[in-house]
Each structure stands twice: as C-alpha cells, then as structure tokens.
C-alpha cells in the first residue's frame, strides 16, 4: 500500500487556554487536491502553520514522506519541497515581481544556477502571463488577485511537491476567485503538485478538490470525497445554505 505524502497523527496545539487543534488526524495522498473546510476559528490556519514549521504542536506527529517533520524549522521544511502560501498572500510589497519570484528559488538556486532560475521564471510567466507584464512593478502595487497569483507563482519557483494554500480567494472578486482556483487545479493537473487547500468558498473549493475534511473546534468532524461533501445535507446547511444542489 502506498504511503500518503502527508499524514497528521493526533496533533494537538493550544494558544494558552484555547485549544486550537485537538487530536487531529488527516492525510493527503500523492497528486491529490484536498480541501480543508471549516468556520473561522476552527483551527485550519493553525494546522497549516504547524505543518509548515511556523508553530510547534504540543503533541502528535506530522509525517511528510513518512518522516516526522514536527520539530523541523520552517526553512528546512521548504528545502524538502513542502511550501506554504500563507493567508493574505504576504508578497514582499516593496520588491519587484521579478525579485519576489527569484526569492522563491532561494533554497535551490545555488544548485540549479542562475540560468535555470531564469528558465523557471519563464515557465511561471507562461502559466501567469499577467505577471510577465508586471514583472518590474512593485508587488505591493498589484491588485489583490495579481498578488495572489504572485504568491502562488513564488511558491511554484520553490519546486513544491506539496503546496499548502491558505485561503487563496480571501478578499477577491468572485470572477477572480474562479480564475485563481482554476490555476490551482492546473498546478496539480500540469505540474503534478499535491495540494492541501483551505478555502472559505466551500463550493468552489470542493469543485476542484478530490477529497475534503471538515474541521470544527480543532478536530476533523467529517471527511469524504469532494462530490459527496458537496451534496452532503449537513455541509450544505452549514457552509453552503440550501441553494447549491
């Protein structure tokens, strides 16, 4: 049986008296898009920060390629091609689009060389043509949608095997959300990147995902195939209302 690419085993974490993650279990297989759903404060962002090495849990294991990375520093985790695109994009606003993209290659540029980095940037531009048009522009002056594309493109420059996306549609117009999520699907379909996605737009997320987990109060309360979750009465009630069939 194939080992999952990522497996979370009994992870718990608290901010002082507040239990943010409570004996949480989930897994992500190679080549999957997995959606992580839940209301604000369910612990989704905390979990992604924990996987990416920005927070250390109180107990439990984060197995990535069957190796426990729970105590590994964030910088080392990136070198293992597990990349987080954080909430609110967090592009380097006072640096150009090109510099932001170059930094994505920081952990491998010494091995691959400048020419290879330039080729990687060209590939990313083919995927996101708008970024090529704006390559000399300061990242902070891009629109919200373009900043999100830049944040994803910068993560691609790091050559991820597993990409963690924290609410890529946050603050974007509905049309742009669709565009961004189409790019996310393209990453898996064309580049073979495995994706764990947090998304408030549950309907849109489940439409591109293979599987999904529903989180509440730091635990997984429901899991299943994306199609099943999309049509699950409880999920519809809580996240979608009754309008989506």
């Amino acid at each position: 049986m194939n080992q999952p690419l990522l497996e979370i085993k009994g992870v718990s974490f608290s901010y002082g008296p507040i239990q943010a993650l409570d004996d949480l279990h989930l897994h992500v297989d190679h080549g999957e898009i997995v959606a992580l759903l839940g209301a604000n404060g369910a612990g989704k962002t905390t979990l992604l920060k924990n996987i990416a090495g920005l927070l250390q849990s109180d107990s439990g294991q984060v197995l990535y390629r069957n190796r426990n990375i729970e105590r590994m520093e964030a910088e080392k985790i990136v070198q293992n091609k597990l990349i987080l695109v954080p909430e609110h994009r967090q592009v380097f606003g006072t640096m150009s689009v090109l510099d932001n993209l170059s930094l994505g290659a920081y952990h491998h540029y010494k091995k691959t060389g400048k020419k290879e980095v330039a080729r990687e940037i060209d590939k990313v531009f083919a995927l996101f043509p708008i970024l090529e048009e704006r390559k000399e522009q300061l990242a902070g002056t891009l629109s919200g949608g373009q900043q999100q594309m830049l944040a994803i493109a910068r993560a691609i420059m790091a050559k991820p095997d597993l990409l963690l996306l924290d609410e890529p549609s946050l603050g974007l117009a509905p049309l742009i959300v669709k565009e961004v999520l189409n790019y996310v699907k393209q990453l898996r379909d064309e580049l073979g990147v495995t994706i764990l996605l947090i998304e408030q737009n549950v309907s849109a997320a489940l439409k591109i995902a293979d599987r999904g987990y529903v989180m509440s109060h730091g635990s997984i309360v429901k899991e299943g195939r994306a199609d099943d979750l999309l049509h699950n009465p409880e999920v519809k009630e809580v996240f979608l209302g009754h309008t989506v069939g």
């Binding site: 990416a52 920005l54 930094l103 920081y106």
Partner: protein, 292 residues
C-alpha cells in the same frame, strides 16, 4: 573662497565617515530593528587593531584585510552572544544591551591600548593636493573614494544578488522570508557582520587622519546615529545624505563660527530639521517599516 572650499572638503571627508557609520546603523536596523549603539566601537576597533598589526610588522595590505576580518568576527559574535540571546526583548532593552556591549568593548580597548592616542600610517603619500586654493591630503581623497565604493558595493550586494534579495525580504516580512527558506537568524548575523565590516573600513580609512584612541567610537557613534536619523531611519540613501550634510554643517560651523561650537551647531541643525520633518530627509512616515 579658498576657505570655503577647504571647509567643504573637510566636511565631506568627515561626513563620508559619518555616512559609512550611518550605513552600518541602517544595515542592522533593516533586518533586526535593533539600533546598535556599539556601531562607533567597530570604527574604533578598525583603527586600533590596524595600529597593533602594523606595529607587529605585518605588511599594510595584509594588516588591512586582517583588521576587517577580526572586526567582522567581533560583530558576528556580538549578534550571536547578546542580541540573539535577547530574542523577543523590546527595542529599548536591545538598545541598552548594545550600549552595554559598547562600554564593554571600550573597557577592553582601554586595557589593551591604554588611554592615549595612537598613530596609523597613511595608505600612500602624504603629499597634499591643491584645489582652488584649498589643501587636500591624499588620505581625505581615500576617505571619499572608500565611501563611494562602499555605497556602490552595498547597492550591488542588496539590489543585484540573491543574498541581497533575501536580506531585503527579511527586512520586509521575516515570516514570509522563512517560507522561502531564508533564515532571519542568519540574516541577522550577516547584518551585524556586514555592519562591523563597514565600521572597520571607516576606522581604517580615518585612522591616519584623526589619531585613534579607545574612546573615539563614542562621538563617531553619536554622529553616525544622528546622520541616520537625519536621513531617515531605515533609509540607506538617507544615511549617506545625512552623513555628508552633517559633516559639511559641522565643518562650516567650525570654520565660520567657532571650532568649539562645531558639535552644538551640528546637533542643533539635526534638532531643527527633525522638528520640521520628524521622519528625516528621506525616511518614511512609518519608520517601523525599515528597508534598505
């Protein structure tokens, strides 16, 4: 006319040193948000270590490079032993720590080199050059050339290299930088080492002009910090502009009003300007942003 040119050149010479010291402040502040008040001690160490190495009979160029390497190592150690250990401390505590480090370094220096001044040889000939009736020593020209070379070198490092981009990324958003495998801890060490190297260069190039002593770092540190504030805390071009302006005002004040009043005139000018423009000449209103 000749007097004016003479004062201007003297001002640009000492202003170049203030500018280099100010660049050291900006380098550290950009990444760590620490105001390192031991910056002047790096300048002092540059001059004093060079004096000792030359006294040992080591050739000039080797002594020059060795001095830079030693001061860089001291800067790196300062970050590793004091600043990093105080991780999470507030800005005021960190400033006090660097003042403590400065007092410690000065104390050691007074034990090693004594309280008197020392003499360091010039880079080359002492034959002055005459321009529009003013006398310029070759070492003054070296000071200005070094300042320009440092500005150009820093620009290339920060703007054109991946290391420089990583450095800027840490300055803008350290958490996002970590997610690109850039270590803010390493960049913090690098900023202290680079800043110490700049201080050493300033000390080396000014030593033949000012007869260095164990306590020379105090006033140079204060002037360098004033230049940083004058230019706008966190702005590298501001640091250079602030340094040169401060040097020229000081020199003109000393020449045309009174040499005893030169510090009062320089600091008075800084105070006046900050009343009009509290964030400095090229600083941003939100100084917390930093950035080279």
């Amino acid at each position: 006319m000749a007097d004016s040119v003479q004062f201007l050149i003297s001002g640009l010479t000492i202003g170049s040193i203030y500018a280099i010291v100010a660049l050291g402040f900006v380098t550290i502040y950009s990444v760590t948000k620490v105001i390192n008040l031991a910056q002047g001690e790096f300048v002092m160490l540059g001059g004093m270590i060079m004096f000792s190495l030359l006294k040992l009979g080591i050739p000039y160029l080797i002594a020059f490079l060795t001095t830079i390497a030693i001061v860089i190592m001291i800067g790196w150690l300062l970050e590793r032993t004091i600043v990093r250990k105080a991780k999470g401390a507030d800005a005021l505590s960190l400033i006090i720590l660097t003042i403590g480090a400065a007092i410690f370094i000065r104390g050691i220096a007074s034990m090693v080199w004594g309280k008197g001044s020392v003499k360091v040889d010039s880079f080359a000939s002492n034959e002055p050059v005459y321009v529009m009736g003013a006398t310029i020593t070759p070492q003054s020209i070296w000071v200005m050339v070094f300042m320009l070379a440092i500005v150009a070198g820093l620009f290339l490092l920060i703007e054109k290299t991946m290391l420089g981009k990583a450095f800027r990324a840490c300055s803008v958003n350290p958490v996002a930088a970590r997610l690109m495998a850039v270590s803010p801890k390493k960049m913090s060490s690098f900023s202290f080492a680079l800043s110490a190297g700049l201080g050493a260069l300033a000390g080396l190039v000014i030593a033949p002009i000012i007869f260095p002593a164990y306590d020379m770092g105090v006033m140079l540190g204060i002037k360098g910090f004033s230049a940083t504030i004058l230019g706008g805390l966190g702005s590298a071009p501001g640091a250079v502009l602030g340094g040169l302006l401060l040097g020229v005002i000081e020199s003109l004040g000393a020449g045309f009003i009174s040499s005893g009043m030169k510090d009062a005139i320089a600091f008075g000018f800084v105070l006046m300007l900050l009343l009009i423009r509290p964030y400095g000449l090229l600083g941003e209103k939100n100084v917390g942003k930093g950035g080279l």
